[in-house]
Symmetry: C2
Subunit: 431 residues, 2 copies
């Protein structure tokens, strides 16, 4: 280590995307190593709209490992954090920055304590895969800080031990998490199927129905499904392997009809397995409070809206998928369809009177522009979707919190610009 | 036929129970013959509270077949009615009533037209198996009228062709519909597992959440599941055969824990298969109108209430099962538990202020008495269920239409008392 111990702080800042599974991960065969019962496939979401930014720092002046999430200090004592930290420290290499006079040898890393600050630009733990982006970002940033030589797939196997779906956030575009066979998990890792440019017609609209934390954690929900659902094993062994092959083919060929059909069917099957669990898991819902009682209804309304439209068009225009939380992820065939989708969604779910359109539709505002919507007057003037035959067409003002317009996006990046760091370069404490 | 043709009306009046499946029937292997993809098991409900009464009549004065359901004339031209009529006419035998001077030979039956009047003492087509009771009653009454010699199981194979679950309404108590192997369906019929006295501790409380007709008919829903759900075949081939064996054993031994566990798991799995269908079937719900938007919530609240209570007791006290419609059928271990169940249900779902308690809890009023509830003051004074830890415990006034307290009941009966007939013995027209 450098002579002037305590005088320096070495930091790395990285940004990592979240991802949405189109073939779902549900069920672990090993809870500690986080080894899944089936392969899964995801689309990485553009980090411009949904991402985690993490700064990791070491300094001889730090006396214990500390972490801040969204500016609030949280405990690092959990097994999942510890597993990731241990795995990365085991892979740390010699590091030298002659300019700053910092030299850290491989053996020194385990004596140095870490400060970690992480920030999500979207609601935590509401089914928008915040832990996926978070653990991916932590592992990626630590690997860069500690000069680890592992490639992205090898890092994904470490991130997997923090949160299963985190392994898929190590890549942009379309990503497969291979379940692997090794009982130690060495081959349970992510690979990129295609980058974000491969199919850049796709537009993604997320309807955030509730930003509240979900009632059943994924971990306990999965465990209960594995233990009690008689359909889960059949899904894992018989259904998913075929769907994985079909989905890879659909992505390769940019075959939207197959992609949408598989995505919707797999989302529904995941929720079916949750319902087949004892006691049944009601993910899209919260049964204890009236104010959240419309969440599941809203999700079903969104499914119905998409199903009706797809049927009226004769071929799928939009795919829907729901993770463990009441937020709909809608994938539109192209930008034109996305504008039509947004028109439909805004017709059915107009913002509350006290909500500003600008904060109701966030992310890529060009979709709003394409939809011809510049203000609330345009929302009010929207005609009912022609495929809806209920007269008058029902509206559900306020049932959606907000919409995020986004697209398939890139994988993790490092920020060399120190102004983006979440820790003060002098003190190593949150800015 | 008798000489004075046109002067007489020959009638039979029968009453047939409805039934609730505890191992569900979902999916046909033959749509015309109504042959299922798996065996099912049901409990027959006491006809004192839920039944169909049907009067069938022949007279040389009738010039075509006619039917009235709940006093409204309906068409008999449907294939299902025609199949049942044809099958029974094929089995008609010579009949003679010397007193009335009526003599009908086997060959004469097909020349005689029928008048049929049927009445359900509960809402039609809302998932309370009205078509089950209806077709069972039609076939049973016609068989008696036409002096057919078939036993109940043989008649069940005819009723099955009207509505699959109707075959299970030919018996009281606990009934199995054997799927059979014959491609013509001759061995797809119901058998009684145990009569209604075998396990007479059980009390059944039905929460009628909506008496509205369901949006997706069972027939088209089943067809879509068979065509699109990859979980349905696994359920039919692998899951249900094991559950049938376990359920028969549970019924034989009056093993409530196993009975309840199997009943709840199978109800949830049936709904899981509906969700795994493309497009997904949302049975417990109606997505198009706000006023019905709480139905599914209510069902989930009832499931949650039962699950929490069962867990807090350490062993199941109550089983729940939901058919294709938003009504919960709750089966309590015994009368004492049923009273506690009713207390919980009335606490969570008190009647609307304009609803009279007497019409809110119908059927076997002794459960209300055992629960210590004589009037609205007693409902208001109910303490929250101790296992609910939300403070204050939420109440959902008006979300349940009414409750029916009942029990396992007897099979079809004939009424010899002509005052119970629904047709005028002189004219053969509805009274």
């Amino acid at each position: 280590m450098a002579e002037e111990s305590g005088k320096w702080v070495l930091m790395v800042t990285a940004q990592t995307p979240t991802n949405i599974a189109v073939i779902k991960y549900w069920g672990k065969r090993d809870e500690t190593l986080i080894l899944p019962v089936n392969d899964s496939i995801s689309v990485t979401l553009d980090p411009d709209h949904l991402c985690t930014t993490t700064t990791v720092a070491v300094s001889p002046s730090f006396d214990h490992d500390r972490m801040w999430l969204n500016a609030k200090e949280i405990s690092l004592s959990g097994g999942r954090f510890q597993n990731c930290l241990r795995e990365i420290r085991n892979r740390a290499c010699d590091f030298e920055d002659k300019e700053k006079g910092i030299k850290i040898e491989k053996k020194d890393w385990e004596k140095l304590h870490l400060h970690i600050a992480s920030y999500n630009n979207f609601p935590t733990a509401a089914g928008l895969a915040s832990s996926a982006a978070g653990f991916a970002c932590l592992v990626f940033a630590l690997a860069k800080l500690m000069n680890a030589k592992e490639d992205q797939s090898q890092l994904s196997a470490i991130a997997r031990q923090g949160s299963g779906s985190a392994c898929r956030s190590l890549f942009g575009g379309f990503v497969k998490w291979i379940m692997g066979k090794d009982e130690k998990g060495s081959d349970s890792l992510a690979v990129q199927l295609a980058d974000e440019e491969h199919w850049n017609d796709l537009v993604i609209v997320i309807a955030v129905v509730s930003s509240r934390q979900k009632e059943t954690s994924s971990t306990s929900g999965m465990r209960e499904s594995v233990e009690t659902s008689l359909l889960l094993q059949h899904r894992a062994k018989e259904v998913v392997p075929k769907r994985i092959v079909q989905m890879e083919e659909a992505i390769k060929n940019r075959d939207f009809s197959s992609f949408a059909q598989l995505t919707c069917a797999d989302s529904n099957q995941f929720h079916a397995v949750c319902l087949d669990t004892s006691p049944p898991i009601f993910y899209m819902n919260d049964t204890s409070h009236r104010q959240f009682s419309t969440n599941m209804e809203t999700c079903f309304r969104i499914i119905s809206c998409v199903e009706k439209w797809n049927r009226s068009e004769g071929s799928p225009q939009v795919a829907y998928t729901f993770d463990a939380g009441p937020n709909a992820v809608l994938i539109a065939r192209n930008k034109k369809v996305a504008a039509q989708l947004l028109q439909r969604l805004l017709f059915i779910f107009p913002p509350s009177s006290d909500t500003d359109l600008n904060s109701y539709v966030i992310g890529d505002k060009s979709i709003l522009h394409d939809a011809g919507i510049g203000g609330m007057k345009d929302v009010e003037a929207l005609p009912p979707p022609p495929e809806i035959n209920t007269v008058p067409a029902q509206k559900y003002q306020g049932d959606v919190s907000y919409f995020i317009c986004t697209r398939p996006g890139r994988g993790p990046v490092l920020f060399s610009d120190e102004s983006k760091a979440l820790l003060n370069p002098e003190t190593g404490l949150p800015k």
